[in-house]
Amino acid sequence: MSATVLERLERLPRRNLTVLSLRGISTLVPGGWRNVTSAEELISEVMGISDPELIQQVRERADQLSRARHEGYTRAMSLYDAVNRSQKAAGGLRVLANVTGGLPLVKRLANLTPPSDTLQAADLSLKVASEMLAFTQVNGLPGNSFSDFRASLNEYAGEAKVRMAALVCFDALLPLGDQALERMDGLLGRVGHQELRQLPAYAGMAAMIPGRGDEAHLNFLRRGVDTWLDWAGGFVGSLGLTSQRAVRALETTLGPWQGGFQQLAIFLDAFTDTYQHTGVQAVARRLVERAAAEI
């Protein structure tokens, strides 16, 4: 039996590269970020209580909910896992390519994985799409009208500000440059079957993306990213996010960085799991809010 959401929350690291890079990025976001890794702390924060008996009740209910297969919490977790695995695999290959690029015998390895902009754009679109899919798995389709649903999405994005800032900085601004959001449309237009198939996460997610066949999936990804771009544009504008500022924020916790922006993006891809880390925390919070309301 796989671990419940709250068990996974408690297994999250308290201090490692992932946490440090998130802490760095959070200096750009008003409100900051706390690395919540204790279920009891989360529950008492949501309910405003310190009664251990009540906390235990909430916890039992939350575990019961996350064990039920129909409820979608496990599915959201596996989405995050798939994206994370794919990101690490791709990042690892690129690190390898960078390292081996200097050695004459294994130089050809460097040509295997060109960190092309198109591939990066496809990767970002997969992350955005899996974020939306995970949202519907965890929260359903809140509200009885489309505007309700939109408000709900905005609310979620506002709550997960650091998560979104990490997504924007690590997967768009750093690898694709400051004009990343404006370029996304053109880049996604060039994404075809091959690029999609090259992403390991796609294989794991294909069954959960609505529509049949690569073409339908691509359409879904493009539409998903379009709606996200609207929001992300405003987000980047209001916080004044640039790749320069992102690097400076990261340097406050990770130490000085000598290489280029792209290398930093590759490094973060290969050695941190920010997407999964904040994903587990976001799901845990929603789950606890539900469990607290149901006991």
Binding site: V46, M47, G48, I49, D51, L54, Q57, R61, Q64, L65, R67, A68, R69, H70, E71, V138, N139, G140, L141, P142, G143, N144, D148, F149, A151, S152, E155, Y156, R286, E289, R290, A292, A293, E294, I295
Partner: protein
């Protein structure tokens, strides 16, 4: 081991695996553990039915729906950027202990039992089936504020959602007709039950 025996064992193993797979796959959703508390989802009232029953908001406030599942719907009451409270309606069918806590309720609201949980939460059980809950965020809401919020829900509409009796079990698949209902044995049983009463009525004067 003889050659034929090995073949038979191998084939048996394959057949067993195949049969197991074919039996297991289609009925996977029927196995226990799929739903919350193993209660069939079709018995639980769906979330969208709850949404129109949330309180009408005052000007300056905002109601943002955040979660909606089978048997559950939740919204945040916001004023500007700050969240004042989490409002939610849930079906307690999947959580018997939730219903049990109302047996000790001292307060009442529109004749439904009302319970305060900790310092920030108040819960109301409507029609012995739905729990309406207000969880204050930040220490702004007093218990009275929370009770007012609970009162602002459309509680009559919510009570009307409760089904009177649990629904009939699903129809049997085609080819397996319903068990025959013979009226005769039932009538006989009724008569048999009625008989002792009649007898005692007769005997009563004698006793």
């Amino acid at each position: 081991m003889s050659r034929t025996l090995r073949w038979v064992l191998g084939l048996l193993l394959v057949a067993g695996l195949l049969i197991g797979a074919f039996l297991y796959l289609p009925f996977r959703s029927w196995l226990p553990g799929g739903t919350v508390g193993n209660v069939s989802t079709r018995l639980v009232v769906n979330g969208p039915a709850f949404n129109p029953l949330f309180p009408k908001i005052h000007p300056g406030e905002q109601l943002v729906f955040t979660q909606e599942k089978r048997g559950f719907s939740q919204a945040r009451l916001k004023e500007g950027e700050t969240t004042k409270a989490l409002l939610s309606i849930s079906d307690v069918l999947t959580s018997p202990s939730t219903r049990a806590k109302f047996s000790a309720a001292k307060l009442e609201l529109q004749s439904w039992p009302l319970v305060d949980q900790g310092t920030q939460a108040s819960a109301l059980l409507v029609a012995d089936r739905f729990q309406v809950k207000v969880i204050g965020q930040g220490a702004e809401l007093t218990p009275d504020d929370r009770h007012d919020l609970l009162n602002a829900f459309d509680l009559k509409g919510l009570a009307a959602l409760a089904p009177e009796t649990p629904r009939e079990p699903r129809a049997l698949p085609a080819g397996k007709g319903a068990p025959l209902k013979l009226p005769l044995p039932q009538r006989q049983r009724e008569a048999a039950q009625a008989a002792p009463a009649a007898k005692s009525a007769v005997l009563e004067p004698a006793a």
